[in-house]
């Protein structure tokens, strides 16, 4: 099965696998549509396609939560829907190493309709109100935002939230520590230059995966998208800037971030699963053009517990963590970022544990950006993908005093972490903790506790007989 080449072929594929429900009855864009998407996330339910959105013509459709389940993630990677998570991780890790450069094209589906600046009205797009009490209607929930470094020309793709302020203006919250935030603050604001961006909605899924990926500074996400999708991404030039965007996208919002103008942004119910009051310090962009397909599909990720970013970051975040730990000499075996943890929890298995290793893990993972606030470090006889096993080990092996290693920091904490106070959020003041769930390496083997499980407290002979009997009983 090939990786779907664009959003439409992906939607056909998940319809075929039974993971897409189409709703033709009228649906209200004001919370009702997103409420259905939210419930689907909370119940591990399907994606939806809404073809009849109140107040909008039927040529506009809205789809929700494209890859909020492992089944849909598997289909997006061209694999059977029931592919195990461990295998999805392995496929992603392998493809991430095979970057494929993009192809530049002149004609593109995303240019079928071109709306110049003086005709732009963001309310012509069926942008849902995602949650009651959000600061406004969020256009960018599952997007791909293109920006370029003013000095080096490095192009970044990121996934950042953007809200409709009025007909021409958007406000957004790429964190100041994000690649886009860094480009803006270092390359454009000091010289009072507006920064061109392009907000891409409804490109091929690998392009969005690449944008959301935890990827290195100066990395090329277009190459990564090609690798993940196993085909070159076609790019086309924007109408009002020299940025390039995926040609197969459904909608492209071209804009410029103001170097000296702001407007209200947020609050917003975010990926950790809460609306935490992070409003008050964002950026503002003026739209310079909108291009879209003739019958465009808007994509909504009903942000919150178990949204599409949860699965996406689960994979790319875990692989990035693993590579980072390896680079720093940690004897890492496996890493899992459970999507249920709202990108705040990582489970790391190591071949040799102990306090020094646990401390090193938390220090390495919070050195630049501190997104993970809890890291469980386990011995490698624990399967990191097996949450009951991890919980059992955590509950029993982590010493309440010696096994807790807290690392505090200022200026790089995650402002979206619900546990932080408003003051901590403002100062980016935070902490991460490593829970050492490994046996101290200095404990002699003869006094180290033995796990009372079939694989560890029974002889090999008995294990084999039990497993044979189990099978014979049809269990």
């Amino acid at each position: 099965m090939a990786t779907p080449k664009d959003l439409r072929s992906f939607l056909e594929a998940i319809e075929a696998s039974g993971d897409l429900v189409t709703v033709t009855d009228e649906i209200d864009w004001d919370q009702e549509l997103s409420g259905i998407g939210r419930l689907a996330c909370e119940r591990n339910g399907p994606a939806f396609m809404f073809t009849n959105v109140k107040d909008y013509a039927p040529d506009w459709r809205v789809t929700t939560n494209p890859i909020a389940t492992w089944r849909r993630m598997a289909v997006a990677l061209g694999l059977p829907a029931d592919t195990p998570v461990r295998e999805l991780y392995a496929v992603y890790a392998e493809r991430e190493q095979n970057s494929i450069p993009p192809l530049l094209v002149n004609d593109a589906p995303c240019k079928e309709v071109v709306i110049p600046a003086d005709k732009v009205d963001l309310f012509d797009l069926p942008v849902p109100m995602v949650h009651d009490g959000d600061g406004g209607r969020y256009l960018g929930t599952w997007d791909l935002v293109v920006s370029k470094d003013a000095d080096t020309g490095w192009v970044n793709w990121g996934m950042y939230r953007f809200m409709v302020h009025n007909e021409r203006y958007l406000t957004g919250y790429p964190r100041p520590t994000s690649h886009l935030g860094k480009m803006l603050l270092e390359g454009y604001v000091p010289s009072d230059k507006p920064m061109p961006i392009a907000i891409v909605i409804g490109a091929d899924v690998p392009s969005h995966l690449a944008a959301a990926a935890t990827f290195q500074l100066n990395g090329d996400e277009a190459n990564l998208a090609g690798g993940l999708g196993e085909r070159a991404v076609e790019l086309v030039k924007c109408e009002t800037s020299d940025l390039y965007v995926p040609a197969n996208a459904e909608i492209v919002i071209e804009a410029e971030v103001l170097p000296n103008g702001i407007a209200q942004e947020g609050p917003y119910g975010e990926y950790p699963g809460y609306r935490s009051g992070e409003m008050g310090d964002a950026l503002c962009a003026r739209v310079t053009a909108i291009t879209h397909r003739r019958d465009p599909i808007h994509t909504l990720d009903t942000t919150g517990f178990m949204d599409s970013s949860a699965t996406t970051t689960s994979i790319s975040g875990a692989i990035a963590i693993r590579r980072r730990l390896e680079k720093h000499g940690v004897p890492v075996v496996d890493v899992y970022v459970p999507p249920e943890g709202g990108v705040h929890l990582a489970i790391v298995s190591v071949s040799r544990g102990g306090a020094a290793v646990a401390k090193k893990v938390v220090e390495v993972l919070t050195a630049r950006r501190a997104l993970m606030s809890k890291i469980i470090v386990v011995d490698d006889d624990v399967d990191v993908f097996n949450i009951p096993q991890v919980l059992h080990a955590f509950a029993t092996k982590c010493h309440p005093e010696r096994g807790t290693h807290i690392h505090t920091y200022t200026g790089r904490a995650n402002a979206l972490t619900p546990a932080y106070s408003q003051q901590e959020r403002a100062a980016r003041l935070g902490a991460s903790v490593a829970f050492d769930v490994t046996w101290p390496p200095e404990w002699p083997r003869e006094v180290t506790p033995v796990r009372a499980t079939l694989d560890q407290m029974y002889t090999k002979d008995v294990q084999d007989r039990v497993l044979a009997r189990w099978k014979a009983l049809g269990l």
Partner: protein, 99 residues
């Protein structure tokens, strides 16, 4: 039908002080433009004054107060406030208020 707005506040006492304040309002008129943002200089009253549009106050985490205020718009302001990206929006409104 009485027009309704909402606004997000960090310092509630300042907003309902009875003096002219600078606010971003979200227009709650049903239809395609619901939640459109507008920056204004306005006077907020609680309890609501008859004949004035209703204004619902929400906290910085979006929690809405049980009863509304009313708002009298004194002046429409430009689409954006002066301020560098990532500077505090509430502080930018306070600066606009002093002008």
């Amino acid at each position: 039908m009485t027009k309704e707005y909402e606004t997000f506040v960090r310092d509630r006492a300042h907003v309902v002080s009875g003096r002219e304040v600078v606010l971003t309002l979200r227009d709650l008129t049903p239809g395609r433009k619901k939640y459109r943002g507008l920056n204004v200089r306005a006077v907020v009253s609680q309890p609501p004054r008859p004949g004035e549009p209703l204004l619902w106050l929400r906290s910085v985490v979006g929690v809405r107060e049980k009863t509304p205020c009313s708002v009298r718009i004194v002046e429409d302001l430009p689409d954006v406030f002066e301020g560098r990206p990532y500077t505090d929006f509430f502080a930018a409104m306070a600066r606009a208020e002093r002008r």
